[in-house]
């Protein structure tokens, strides 16, 4: 059997067959180092990570690897563990001793580096590409290496080296020109950027430059204070290219050339694009320290019927001089005015709230029915009210959103607000799911908006929905690998950095980890062990907590120009990620068979539970993770001396009576309460089969079963007068959940 076939067996967790092949190979070829490497890799894949890494280090120190496959395998193993230095040393030693390996090994290493699991290490990439260009001498490899140098903008020596490399090769296309200008731009050699761009333009006048190169060229003109050239470059674009950045650069150039306000304005008058022209007057006045009120008014008068009006001018200092049109029949004018008033009139929102409501109602009366996909812009005013009005309770706000959405079901932002609003109640997770599905969230949106459904109650149909969503994460790594490799192959340097960023940000994604943990928890409670082990394996092998990327989108919801402080507070509250990390280690430990790995996880868990961030946990969460922490210490005999203390802690605290007073602090209608019940049920499931804790588990199970959630919720609904909002709709889910306890 071939080397790669055995690696595939190990990757596919077919250990018995793989081990027997390795054994056979070692008997047949006792001096072949490849089989020793496979043996180490087998141990690594079977969970003995610490031991395997130690063996690999020892192996590299003692043996000179003379076959590319072994080098690649150990390189991969070290890289996956974040041992960059060791990974590098592996191939460097091999190349030094056996240079003949170069042409085969280097491209393979580059491909392996982009493995869809580990982030791209630019430094290592540069080293590999540099060696490859030495070996091959091909133009493509030279530019790839130079481009890699440009990705480390602060490393002067490296950028100089990049410039030296490309100096020997003529620039033949815009992508190569981009590499040259990028390197020189990093080195702040502005004249070189300008010279390279202009030489290319002279030589190939018919070829339009990429926008990325245009940006570098303009930046070079500004940095080198080449105002005359900047003027010459931007002036013709004023009439042909509707680009505000160009206009700003034009104003900058003329100001630096001491051109008068009037002369500059006259040139700006030629801009045929109304919005950008009117804004350019405003900017001109500010830049020349002239009064800008008149231009502010001019802009408002001309653009007040456009929804962008408020956003375009809200930041200008003389906004309070603006004379808003009164009594307008145009809905967009009214919406803009309401937003301006919010800034200009200060803290008394009552008038604005009343007006917003009236404008909305008038709009609805005027427009009895909406076309398919038509959006009623006045919906925004109701969203504003929900944030401003403290006299309306949470149920009433949700009900109001419901009525707005019923009238205009195609408004995605109102639907997002509906999900946001419902998320505070535990009994509406199924309704949230319905809205999520109506929004047709798919592909990358699963990563950015999937967090809306991270609290679904464990039900088989919910598990199926989450499995389907998770498919995105199964396909995206391989797509990203081919994207990066194809981008390099095609030398699309203007886009490669974006590809690297996208690739890296797709790894260790908070959205993916959250979804995988939710599924692992759900499948445990539902007893779907096959699915459970698949997701646990994903969690084990695909995440490094110190490299998490949070791609969740907290901004779209708030894009209507107000209350940014609330938006930031909301986002920040979700950014801590402490519970996510605690759940991560909990899941690893519940599925860990190797004591040495378990001890390292317990250590990490302890670190998290002793940190400052624990203040953000609620009382139940503190209780729950302390219980798990002590449980794991007992199960894995973490500290023999503390065993009795740990056991006593559990005997004393792993009781429903300890949770009861805490539960009382939560509203039974809240999402925190639902999460609490789900976590307790999960805890009982996790304790099942642990003989030392059978008594505690059985008692907890009996006590949970005694809680009549349905009647508690109904009583609370009665008390708060919220019955009319249909909260009882999904109470059956609790019955199903509790009935899973045996």
């Amino acid at each position: 059997m071939e080397f790669t076939d055995i690696v595939n067996l190990l990757d596919g967790r077919e250990f018995r067959e793989a081990d027997s092949q390795i054994k056979r190979g070692r008997l047949k070829y006792p001096n072949n180092s490849a089989y020793l490497c496979l043996l180490i890799y087998s141990a690594y894949k079977q969970g003995s990570k610490v031991k395997a890494i130690a063996s690999a280090k020892d192996f590299v120190n003692k043996h000179a690897l003379n076959d590319a496959n072994s080098v690649l395998l150990l390189y991969r193993l070290f890289s996956q563990e974040g041992l960059t230095k060791e990974a590098q040393q592996t191939y460097e030693t091999a190349l030094r001793k056996f240079p003949i390996l170069g042409p085969k090994l280097l491209p393979a290493l580059i491909e392996q580096m982009v493995d869809g699991v580990t982030p791209i290490n630019i430094k290592q990439m540069e080293k590999l590409l540099m060696q490859l260009q030495k070996v091959s001498g091909e133009t493509k490899d030279v530019y790839n290496a130079a481009f890699a140098c440009s990705l480390m903008p602060t490393d002067t020596l490296l950028n100089q080296l990049g410039v030296k490399l490309v100096e020997k090769v003529a620039v033949e296309n815009t992508q190569q020109l981009y590499v040259v200008t990028k390197l020189n731009s990093n080195l702040r050699q502005w004249d070189a950027v300008i010279d390279a761009t202009e030489t290319f333009k002279k030589k190939s006048a018919e070829i339009a430059l990429d926008l990325e190169i245009e940006t570098l060229y303009v930046e070079a003109l500004i940095q080198s204070q080449n105002w005359t050239k900047l003027r010459i470059h931007t002036l013709p674009k004023l009439t042909t290219f509707n680009d505000y950045s160009t206009i700003l650069n034009f104003i900058l150039a003329l100001r630096q050339l001491a051109e008068s306000f009037n002369a500059t304005k006259e040139l700006l008058d030629t801009i045929p694009f109304k919005r950008n022209r009117l804004l350019s007057y405003l900017e001109l006045a500010v830049q020349y320290n002239m009064p800008h009120e008149v231009y502010l008014q001019q802009y408002y008068d001309a653009l007040k019927t456009k929804l962008c009006c408020f956003y375009d001018i809200r930041h200008y200092p003389k906004l309070n001089a603006l004379k808003l049109e009164e009594g307008s029949n145009d809905s967009h004018v009214e919406i803009n005015n309401q937003k301006f008033k919010l800034i200009l009139l200060g803290e008394d929102y009552s008038v604005i709230i009343k007006e917003n409501e009236a404008i909305y109602e008038t709009a609805c009366a005027k427009k009895k029915s909406l076309e398919r996909y038509e959006l009623l812009p006045e919906n925004e005013l109701i969203l504003m009210n929900l944030l401003l009005d403290d006299n309306v309770n949470a149920f009433e706000k949700t009900d109001r959103l419901h009525s707005v959405l019923s009238r205009n079901p195609d408004d995605p932002r109102v639907r997002m607000w509906m999900m946001h609003s419902l998320a505070q109640y535990g009994h509406f997770t199924q309704t949230i799911l319905g809205h999520f599905e109506d929004l047709k969230i798919k592909m990358i949106q699963i990563d950015t908006l999937g967090y809306y459904i991270s609290n679904l109650v464990p039900l088989k149909e919910n598990a199926m929905v989450l499995f389907n969503l998770y498919r995105y994460y199964l396909t995206v790594p391989s797509e990203n690998v081919s994207m990066v490799l194809q981008g390099m192959e095609n030398q699309v340097y203007t886009k490669l950095e974006g590809f690297f960023n996208f690739y890296n940000r797709s790894l260790n994604s908070v959205g993916e980890l959250q979804l995988a943990l939710t599924i692992a928890k759900m499948t445990t409670v539902l007893g779907l062990s096959d699915y459970s082990s698949f997701f646990v394996d994903r969690i084990k092998t695909r995440f490094q907590l110190d490299l998490l990327n949070d791609n969740r989108d907290f901004k779209t919801l708030w894009k209507f120009g107000i209350n940014t402080k609330e938006a930031e507070a909301y986002a920040n509250s979700l950014l801590l990620l402490l519970t996510l990390k605690l759940e991560y280690y909990k899941t690893l430990l519940l599925n860990e068979g190797n004591p040495s790995n378990a001890h390292s996880h317990i250590k990490n868990l302890n670190k998290l539970l002793s940190g400052e961030d624990t203040k953000s946990l609620n009382k139940f969460e503190t209780w729950l993770y302390r219980i798990y922490f002590n449980l794991f210490k007992c199960l894995f005999k973490y500290n023999q001396k503390e065993m009795v203390t740990n056991m006593n802690y559990l005997t004393k605290n792993l009781k429903f009576t300890k949770v009861m007073p805490i539960i009382g602090e939560f509203s039974v209608l809240s999402s925190a309460y639902t999460l609490l019940i789900v976590s307790l049920v999960e805890l009982v499931h996790n304790l099942t089969g642990l003989t030392d804790f059978k008594h505690l588990r059985d008692q907890l199970c009996t006590d949970i079963k005694k809680v009549n959630i349905r009647s508690l919720v109904e009583a609370e609904l009665e008390k708060t007068g919220a019955s009319k909002f249909g909260f009882t709709k999904h109470l059956d889910n609790y019955d199903i959940l509790i009935s899973s306890l045996k």
């Binding site: 940006t215 929804l307 997002m416 095609n490 886009k495």
Partner: protein, 196 residues
Amino acid sequence: MSSIRPFQMDDLFSVNPINIDPLTENFNPSFYSQYLIEWPTFFFKSTEETHGLFDQLYEISGYMMGKTEGRLDKKEWHTHITAVTVMPTYRRLGLAQGLCVQLEKMSVGGVYDTLFVDLFVKVTNSLAYKMYKGLGYSVYRRVIGYYGRTVPEDRNNLDDEIDAFDMRKALPRDIKRETVRDNGEKVYVLPNEIEF
């Protein structure tokens, strides 16, 4: 205050305000990356300054995805608009038109130098139809069942809900304007007849 900037792959993390729209398609990442690799200059975005809101320098207000296809010897070498979309707040400003005009300019001369620009628009989407007419596009043919779920076989089975207009605008390279025609609304074709 719209500016035109190149689209980058990681911009996909920031386009929710645009792509959450029910009429804007969300493709798998490889679809976007393929466009960026093969037609890097034909994928660009419009941006608006945010003045520090949400720690962003700017927000993306719209984007254009285009490509080239067809054979020159068959007079089919052209630029195709795959997607042009704008966030609701920045609609009715001519932004989409601006993005189309920018694509046209990029198609004239240079590396691509195509004969015409084309796009598909739902027969019922009168707003988009008017916008493209205003930009100089005309209907070249009506594609029967283009947006339907089944493959149509009868080219006379008209259905406004699922039929598309293939609209074109001739570019300077098509000196004799051979790639456009009058009364294209009356020319019916099936989807399999429009492949290049």
